[in-house]
């Protein structure tokens, strides 16, 4: 065990600090296990000098060496008391990103944990929406109305526009395909059946998840970050009852209405093309469309929308409540909510398609 003694300069600044570091390097290359720094000459020290001092101590300890100092003057006593913990401590390494195997097990554990949380939220929401109001435990009707206005009335324009344009596009596309067979009148059937069964529901749900799902996640995440959620808890108010229930209930009521409007606008979009470009008389197109409108198709399309509504609202709330960190977390969770929303919409749709097209045929 060899100990090397270094003498600190009179002024510890960037230049002299770098020099001292070189000396220290030479010392540990020569195999010194302990550095002893004599601080007696030092009268003055600036930030960069202090940084070099920490660098020497840190590098020494990273090599499992020892760093000691002695005899500092009164003038730098304040510095030395404040630096002492950092000089005594081996510099911490920044936490490593997890390895492949770790990350697999972590993902699994996280997924199971998150799934559990989500199920908990579902059960709570079910209770507070469907049971508690009838036990006289209250339902925030005003909040419900506000949410319904925000999610429903204010989304009417964009939902109608998107469905209208989609109807127009599908009419263009399919009319061009069947033109050779002279079957263009059946485009009216196609549009009616397509929108009733699938398109109105999916298109509207996608628009709503981008609009409302993202808004729910961002709002709740921000509330969580700014400790508003904790404030609610602290007042003894149930977060699910206060925040989640009005949103879920509002979306369950509002989404089917929006889908109905979407259905009408989609069919109108198709009709516009049929009448103006394909040249059918309005009455003919109208009759053809009515002939293809089966209540069973419409009901099947509508049934899905309740599940869509529950999925969008709950996924938004779930992601909002899971936020970690600050502003960045809010952004991440909002994105995640929309991605999960759209994924869930497709999953629900597949289940419904399987049930209605195969099992019930």
């Amino acid at each position: 065990m060899s100990e090397t003694r270094l003498t600190a300069p009179e002024q510890l600044n960037n230049a002299t600090g770098a020099q001292l570091y070189e000396e220290a390097k030479r010392a540990w290359r020569a195999g010194a296990a302990t550095l002893l720094l004599d601080l007696a000459p030092t009268r003055d020290m600036d930030s960069l000098g202090g940084a070099w001092l920490l660098k020497i101590a840190g590098d020494m300890r990273r090599r499992d060496g020892e760093f000691k100092w002695e005899g500092h003057q009164e003038a730098i006593a304040d510095f030395m008391t404040m630096l002492e913990p950092a000089l005594q401590m081996k510099p911490k390494k920044p936490p490593k990103p997890p390895g492949l195997f770790d990350s697999f097990t972590d993902t699994l554990v996280n997924f199971v944990g998150e799934f559990g949380e989500f199920m908990g939220l579902c059960v709570d929401t079910l209770y507070w929406t469907a049971v508690a109001p009838f036990e006289g435990r209250g339902f925030r009707f005003n909040a419900f109305m506000e949410e319904a206005h925000e999610m429903g009335v204010r989304a009417v324009r964009i939902v109608c526009l998107m469905n209208f344009l989609l109807g127009l596009i599908i009419a263009m596309l399919s009319a061009a395909q069947v033109a050779a067979f002279g079957m263009q009148i059946y485009v009216a059937d196609l549009i009616m059946i397509g929108f009733a069964r699938e398109l109105a529901a999916i298109m509207t749900a996608v628009v709503v998840s981008a609009r409302t799902g993202a808004a729910i996640a961002a709002e709740i995440a921000t509330m969580k970050v700014q400790e508003e959620v904790d404030a609610l808890r602290g007042m003894g108010i149930n977060v699910v009852q206060y925040l989640v229930t009005p949103k879920v209930a509002a979306l369950i009521v509002v989404l089917p209405c929006l889908v109905t409007l979407g259905l009408v606008s989609g069919v109108a979009g198709g009709a516009l093309w049929g009448v103006l470009v394909l040249g059918f008389r309005p009455a003919v197109w109208y009759q053809q469309t009515l002939g293809a409108a089966y209540m069973s198709d419409i009901m099947q399309g509508m049934l899905k929308t309740f599940f869509f509504a529950i999925a969008i609202a709950l996924i938004g709330c779930h992601n909002g409540l899971r936020v970690r960190g600050g502003s960045r977390g809010v952004g991440l969770m909002t994105t995640r909510a929309v991605v999960m929303d759209i994924f869930m919409l497709i999953c629900i749709d597949i289940v419904f398609a399987a049930i209605f097209y195969y099992w019930l045929e």
Binding site: L48, W52, L54, K55, D78, M82, L83, P85, A86, R328
Partner: protein, 255 residues
């Protein structure tokens, strides 16, 4: 070098139509701890934002090292702001970075610090505020007081000659608040930094302040040393520093 670092003359400031500061004038001497006090909502934070060029005054002069902050263009302003440190009322740490990265940010962005030294300089600054062990934590994992100190560490990252600090001790326990005052005094001595501090704490004024500015309804009520407050001829100043409540509150006719 000039003895006076900031000289404000007849500063008037508005939020829209609403007048917040009405003819404020004062001077800050180089190397002192200058505290701004006053009731809640009287415009202290607004004054600070004007001093560091985040807001433009309606009229008046703000001389910083003899150049007027109020008429600087964007480049000059940025230049000036690189030379000062600001710690905000709600810390203003970047949530997506660790504490260490927060402190390293100004060094990397415009600090001219040797790359090999950044990490050690960060540890140096963090030790000055007693957070050496918190380098790799995220701001969300800190307590309120630790966040204030981390904000201060970022403000002093580049050894500015002037540090603005909005309410350092709001929300801290008395021990921690006293520790922070002590730390500011040490920093002033070690780095010979000028501090302009907004505060509500009488204790920290008595302990650390060289001079005090008292604002009331957007006007300067008092400007001088702590001793002078005791003999001030203005009733409201003595009331504030002796911590007496307003008359109508003692009479209990709040309703």
């Amino acid at each position: 070098m000039d003895d006076i670092i900031i000289k404000v003359t007849d500063l008037v400031a508005h939020y829209g139509e609403f007048k917040v500061l009405d003819g404020v004038s004062f001077e800050v001497k180089r190397g002192e701890i200058f505290m701004i006090v006053g009731g809640s909502g009287c415009g202290k934070s607004t004054l600070l934002k004007h001093l560091c060029g985040l807001m433009r005054p309606t009229s008046g002069e703000i001389l910083y090292n003899n150049t007027d902050v109020a008429v600087m263009d964007a480049d000059e302003l940025a230049e000036m702001q690189h030379g000062i440190g600001i710690a905000f009322q709600s810390s203003g740490l970047f949530n997506s970075m660790t504490v260490g990265e927060n402190v390293a940010m100004p060094m990397r962005e415009y600090g001219n610090v040797d790359k090999v030294l950044v990490d050690d300089l960060v540890r140096f600054k963090l030790s000055l505020v007693g957070l050496a062990a918190a380098q790799h934590l995220m701001p969300g994992e800190l307590s309120g007081g630790m966040r204030k100190r981390a904000g201060l560490a970022r403000a002093i990252a580049l050894d500015p000659e002037l540090v603005y600090f909005d309410e350092p001790s709001a929300g801290l326990d008395p021990i921690m608040a006293a520790g922070l005052d002590d730390m500011i005094l040490k920093l002033k001595r070690m780095l010979s930094t000028t501090f302009v501090i907004v505060t509500h704490e009488l204790d920290s004024i008595r302990m650390a302040a060289d001079r005090v500015l008292m604002l009331d309804k957007g006007e300067v009520l008092f400007c001088g040393t702590v001793e002078e407050t005791k003999t001030s001829s203005i009733e409201r100043v003595r009331q504030f520093f002796e911590r007496r409540p307003d008359e109508f509150i003692t009479q209990g006719n709040l309703s």
